[in-house]
Structure formats: structure tokens, C-alpha cells
Amino acid sequence: MNFKKLLLHHGRQLGTLAGLLLLVLALSLRTPYFLTVSNLLTVLEQVSINAIVAVGMTVVIITAGIDLSVGSILAFAGVVMATVLQKDLPVPLGLAVGLGVGVGCGLLNGLLITIGRLPPFIATLGMMSIARGGALLFTNGRPVSGFSDGFRALATSQFLYIPMPTLIMLGVYVACHLLLTRTRFGLYAYAMGGNEQATHLSGINVRLHKTLVYGLCGLTSAIAAVILTARLNSAQPIAGMTYELDAIAATVIGGASLMGGQGTLVGTLIGALLMGVLRNGLNLLEVSSFLQQVIIGAVIIVAVLLDMTLKQNRK
């Protein structure tokens, strides 16, 4: 009974989880390097950036929106933060500035969508171009490199063998999961995505909350920028290209619908892991990079097909 309820409520995620586990099993059988602690930690570390970007994306997609600008915002926030950090100012200040830039760009997206009534696709497409150009102008096209060990520890240090990026990722997931499931903000996100008019008529300030959702998405992009910059010891103005696709893919594989009203962070995390494990496994198996693309595409399709079939049978 309880299991049935679990299936009902988390059905979508269990399907993808099954896909992920199948993949892990297959890889474990095919290569001895896969199922090692060090490799699994590597995967978790690698996945963290996409997974964090996907958090904001999930919330946006739940509201029936989309954010194409995550990669550009990541780059812009990254280079601004890097520039501050290089001025020998305290690390927290640099972080604050970087996150601030991310939130600012996100809120701007939100305002364009709510006050300007632009379709989210258009507003964030514009922002994608603007923030990218901004990052390039800001740095004259050059990467900003070389940071203090204190800052780099955000990517290189470990806690109980777990890499810091993974810990940050988990922190972001837990916080945002609570935000989505335990706060008014979360309820409104689902409600706006499910039926914006009914939400408005229930007395909710749709404009405000939608704007905040995009602000949150900017924030997670900026958090990802922090990790990426610390990891590469460099902030590049061309960082994060096509990250939006990866983030949307993780979200949708995880069960969110682009039509809004649906989606969970647990699902998104599974989606991001699926893609990360797949890429890692293909490298370990030494698959040629062309064939990799075919396999990645096929696995994404098969994973979600599996999921749909499971869901169908349950009905």
C-alpha cells in the first residue's frame, strides 16, 4: 500500500531512476573503472554544475517558463566575480558580487516577462545574447584567471572525501527542494504553471512571484559560475555555452513538463545524474566521440521511453 502510494506520487521519478540504475549496472559490467568510489565521486563532482543550473531551470519550467540565458548569465556573473576577486578584495565580497549579478540578470528576465509581457523564450533569448556580449565587453574577450587558494578550495577541497562542488550541489538541492515543497513560494510556482489565471484569481501576486522565480534561476546560474570558476581557476566570457540545453534536458528527463505545473528537484537531480553518468561511462568505455553522440541521444530517448511505459502500465 505504502509502496503503491510512493509509486503514485513519485512515479515519474522512479521510472527515470530505474533507467539510471540500469545504466549504472550496464556500465559496471562493461568496464572495471566505473564502479569505483573515486570514479563515482568524479561523476558527482562533474555533474554538479549542470545539476545546479538545472535547479533554477526546474523552478522556471514549473511555472511554464523557460530560461535560455542561464549559460550566459553564468559567464557574466563569473567574469565579474573573477575581476573583483583579483582585486585582492575578500572572497565573500567577490562571491556576493557574482551572485548579485546573477540575481540581477535573472530579475531583469523576470521583469521583462511580467511587466513587459514578453514570452519567456524571447526575453531570455535576448538576455542570453546581452549577457554574453556583456561578459565579452567586460573582459575584452579574455579569460580572467588565477585566484587565491581560499577561493579555489570551493572546487578543490573535500569534506569526508566528498568534493566540495558535490556538497554545494546537495546544499542547493536540499534548500530549493524545501523551498518548492514547504513554502508559499513553491506552491505559487506550481500554481502559476498549472493555471496562471486561476492563480491570479486566488489573490496571488503573479508578477512578483514570477519575477522572483527568474531571480532564483539567475542565482543558481551564478552559484554554478562560482564552482566553474574555482574549478578551472579561470572565468571565461565564453563559458556555459549550450548549458541551457543540458539543464532543460535534465529537468525534462526528470519528469517536468514544458507546459508547466509539473516537476520535482528529485527528478531533475536524477536527470542530471543520468546525463553525467552516461558521459563518464562513454569516456571510460573509450567510445569514439562521434558514436558517443549517437549513444547519448539514444539513451536519453530510451530512458524516458522506459519511464513512460512504466507510468502507462501503472495507470
Binding site: 513554502t183 498549472g194 493555471n195 486561476a198 486566488s202 489573490g203 496571488i204
Partner: protein
């Protein structure tokens, strides 16, 4: 139909139901909200597959796999929930799937529009066939559904609450057509919660309860009370149990309200403890009045006072803050977030209670939702059910529950009992009594004249965006109200 069974997760919607339909009869399907009427008919029309059971058409066993298949077998259906494409014009909606064509593949839009105009005219509906459906009100959409189903020229016609959104005139036209079809030998399944209609139009009746068939009768052999007892398994007495409350000071005053679209100088006053009924025909502007007061549509001029103080209600948020609750007429579009659970829908306007300081109090949330499910007898396996999976009447109850949980003191009910079963109706009326007793004022918009006459302390009649008549409870009669609504003098 023999031994039909169907389950949804957590719900046994139908359990071994037998149902038969003769040519040239109107067979009424009766049952409480969630009894399984719509599901049974969806199985007949191919929209839904049964888990078990079989269907025989003219003696032949049939497996109806798709709506297309059902149509080709001569089964035409008016679904309870509208199935219209909002951005397409009326004409395309009516002929979707059966478009008139030229040269085999070219659409003949002109012919389509012409035929649509003719079909609409036959039903006495004044709707521009070229208008997109998204610009139409509920009643108009309902008429389009009817037009669409009738234009199919079917052997079997299923009508799932076709009149719930209609007013007197249209219902009469519809019945005339139903009688004509019956005379032509068409078999008609008719679902409605309006008991008086059932006796007016039906030949036989089948009562469903909790997914099981209770009995089939000839309507001539039974009384309303019998049917209600079979449906609800309990006695229900008085139909309109209005207990008048001594009206107090005005809670809501509207003066010279004019909008850019329809309203022209509407004034009204709603007092504490009063039910103010608003009657009118399709498109009279009643819904617009509700929307304008609730801050949904912008106001061009006029004044609104709440508890005697001027209030500027520019958004539903401000209206709710001022203590107003709106039950909209189109529950699916404006009332509910369908993918969300019952629980979450109820929480939505009540976040100050469920989310104090923005954080969820699970127990409070469950309590509120449970209260609403129990109090309104919403038929659902649990409060986490997506509201889109509920039967139509139960959805309506959830919307009601949203506002009851909030202790508003001004209610605007736009068609509050649309699609609600007899038992629940009486409960809602009792509830209105309780609310007024507790000091609330209710603005009740309804197209069901008996309801308006039975429940209101005072009645306003609207026509073309103006108030054209006012009656006290004692002086209101069906004829007088209708005359004011039509603009003729009685």
C-alpha cells in the same frame, strides 16, 4: 452495455454497470457527483476504455476504440467539460474532423461558415461563426458543443449536463430539438442534476450510485423523492431552505460601475446577512460585474465601497484582502489549478493560514483540505488527488471550499450550483444560510430561475450591462423576472 467496470488509481469508478438504450427514447442517467455517469458515457463514446464489460450496438458486439470509431458508429457526444479549441473560430470547432472540402483536400471555409451559421440558427443562437471560441462565455461555448454534436446526425446522442450553463430560453430550444430527434428515432442519453428537467424530457431513468447501477425506471412510475432516495441513499426534504436573516448594514456598495467592455452604470447594495440574487440572460453582463468587483477587469468609472469605506480593488489580491471571495463560473479556467492536488488548491487563497511567515504547516494544510472534503462531501480517494481527476461536480465543490476556508464576508457566487447534484445543492444552500447567519453577504449570480427565486432575499435583473429590475423576495415571480431580463414589460 453489459457489466462495464472501470478503475482509476484509488477509485472504482464503475463496477459492473448494465445500461441499455432504445431508439427513440430519452434515457436519463442520474447519480450524485462522482457516481460514474460521465465515465460510463466516455466509455460509450470511445474517449475512455473499459477495464471489463462489453458493448452491443443494434445487437452487434462492438469494441469502441477511439472517438473516431464511435462517431462512425453514429454515436455523438456532448462532454461535460468543453472540448473546444480556443483559438479556432466557432465554425471550425463545429466541423472539426468533418470539414466541408473542395477538390478533395482544400478546406472550404466559406461553406463551413455558412453551414455553421445555419446550424447555429437552427438552435436560435446568435453567435458569429467566425469568432474565435476563446472570446466566448461559458453559455455560448455550451451552445457550440450542442451545435457540434447535433450537426453529426447521429443514431445515439449522449448529452452530459448540456444545460448546466444555459438559461431558460436556450433550454427550451434544446428540448424542442431533443424531442424532434426522439421522434426521428434517435436514442438519447441525458445526464443532468436538474430534477425538473428530467421529468420534462426523460422517458426512462437509470440511477447510479458509487459506480454501481441501482435501478432503471420508467419516469412515469417514480417521483423526485424516490429518485433522490435511490441516488443518495438518504432522505432529502425541502428544496430551497432559505432562512431569512435580518439584514444588517451594507457590506458592499457599487455605484455607477462602468467598464470598457459591457457594464453601463451598475449600482447595487449588498447587506450583511443578505443573499442578493442576480438574474439575467446569457451575456447580460453578470459575470463581468463579478469580475469587475473582484478586480479582475479594469473599471472605467464608478465607485465600490466595502463596509461603507471607498475601496480601490484593482486586483483580485486587493479584493480578497477586503474580504471578498469569488466563485467563478468557469471552474476549469478560472477556479482551479487542475494539475495541483485538492489540498494545494484549497491552500492557494489561504496561504496566510497554511503558510504563516511563508513556511508550510503540514497539519494545518491537511486539516483545511480535509475539512473541505468532509464538509462538502467531495468524493475523492484522498486530498492529494489532482483536482483535474475529479468529477465535474466535485471540482466545483473544491472551488467553493477554497473560499469557505477563508473567512470572507462578501461572497460572489457565479453559478454556484452548476453541475452539482441535488443532495450537494441543498448542502450548498444550507451553507449559504449559515454564511449569512454568520454575517456574510452573498451576491448570487444564477441562471437557474427557481434557485434565484428560492434563495434570494432580493433579486436584481440585468440586461445588456445594466440593471433592469429589482424585486424583493415576495414580489418576485418567474414571469416578472423573465420580463425584466428580456426587456419586455410583464
Amino acid at each position: 452495455m453489459r457489466g462495464i467496470g472501470k478503475s482509476f488509481p484509488g477509485v472504482r469508478a464503475l463496477d459492473g454497470v448494465d445500461f441499455d438504450l432504445q431508439p427513440g427514447e430519452v434515457h436519463v442517467l442520474l447519480g450524485e457527483n462522482g457516481a460514474g455517469k460521465s465515465t460510463l458515457m466516455k466509455i460509450l463514446s470511445g474517449a475512455c476504455r473499459p477495464d471489463e464489460g462489453e458493448i452491443h450496438l443494434a445487437g452487434q458486439p462492438q469494441r469502441i476504440a477511439t472517438p473516431h470509431h464511435a462517431q462512425s458508429l453514429g454515436i455523438s457526444t456532448i462532454y461535460q467539460e468543453f472540448n473546444l479549441v480556443p483559438h479556432l473560430p466557432v465554425s471550425a470547432n463545429i466541423f472539426l474532423g468533418r470539414e466541408p472540402r473542395r477538390a478533395g483536400f482544400l478546406l472550404d471555409r466559406r461553406a463551413m461558415r455558412r453551414q455553421a451559421a445555419r446550424a447555429l440558427q437552427e438552435l436560435d443562437v446568435a453567435i458569429d461563426p467566425a469568432a474565435p471560441v476563446s472570446t466566448l462565455g461559458v453559455a455560448e461555448q455550451q451552445m457550440i458543443e450542442v451545435t457540434k454534436a447535433l450537426s453529426l446526425d447521429a443514431r445515439i446522442l449522449v448529452m452530459d449536463e448540456p444545460t448546466s450553463a444555459l438559461t431558460g430560453g436556450e433550454i427550451e430550444t434544446l428540448f424542442a430539438i431533443v424531442r424532434r430527434l426522439r421522434a426521428r428515432g434517435v436514442g438519447i442519453v441525458y445526464i443532468s442534476h436538474r430534477m425538473e428537467e428530467i421529468f420534462q424530457i426523460g422517458d426512462r431513468v437509470t440511477v447510479l450510485r458509487d459506480g454501481r447501477k441501482v435501478a432503471t425506471h420508467r419516469l412515469a412510475d417514480v417521483t423526485t423523492a424516490d429518485l433522490i432516495r435511490e441516488m443518495a441513499d438518504r432522505e432529502l426534504t425541502e428544496h430551497f431552505p432559505r432562512e431569512a436573516v435580518e439584514p444588517g448594514p451594507p457590506v458592499l456598495q457599487v455605484r455607477d460601475l462602468t467598464t470598457r467592455t459591457k457594464l453601463r452604470g451598475v449600482s447595487l447594495e449588498l447587506r450583511r446577512g443578505e443573499i442578493l440574487g442576480i438574474a439575467g440572460l446569457l451575456g447580460a453582463g453578470r459575470t463581468e460585474l463579478a469580475r469587475a468587483i473582484f478586480g479582475v477587469d479594469p473599471i472605467r468609472s464608478g465607485e465600490i465601497r466595502v463596509h461603507g469605506c471607498p475601496a480601490s480593488l484593482r486586483s483580485p489580491r486587493e479584493a480578497i484582502r477586503a474580504g471578498i471571495g469569488l466563485l467563478p463560473e468557469d471552474r476549469r479556467q478560472f477556479g482551479l489549478v487542475l494539475p495541483l492536488s485538492i489540498k494545494h488548491n484549497v491552500s492557494l487563497p489561504n496561504t496566510d493560514r497554511v503558510y504563516p511567515r511563508g513556511l508550510l504547516r503540514t497539519a494545518e494544510e491537511r486539516r483545511l483540505a480535509q475539512e473541505c472534503v468532509t464538509g462538502l462531501r467531495i468524493k475523492t480517494p484522498h486530498i492529494d488527488q489532482a483536482s483535474g481527476n475529479l468529477s465535474g461536480g466535485n471540482q466545483q465543490k473544491v472551488v467553493l471550499g477554497k473560499w469557505l476556508a477563508r473567512k470572507s464576508d462578501i461572497f460572489i457566487f457565479d453559478e454556484p450550483t452548476r453541475g452539482i447534484d441535488v443532495g450537494a445543492k441543498v448542502e450548498i444552500y444550507r451553507l449559504m444560510n449559515r454564511l449569512t447567519r454568520d454575517g456574510a453577504g452573498i451576491l448570487m449570480i444564477s441562471s437557474e430561475l427557481p434557485e434565484v427565486l428560492g434563495m434570494s432575499d432580493r433579486i436584481l435583473v440585468m440586461r445588456e450591462g445594466r440593471i433592469t429590475g429589482e424585486f424583493t423576495r415576495s414580489e418576485a415571480t418567474q414571469e416578472a423576472v423573465l420580463a425584466a431580463a428580456l426587456g419586455t414589460t410583464a
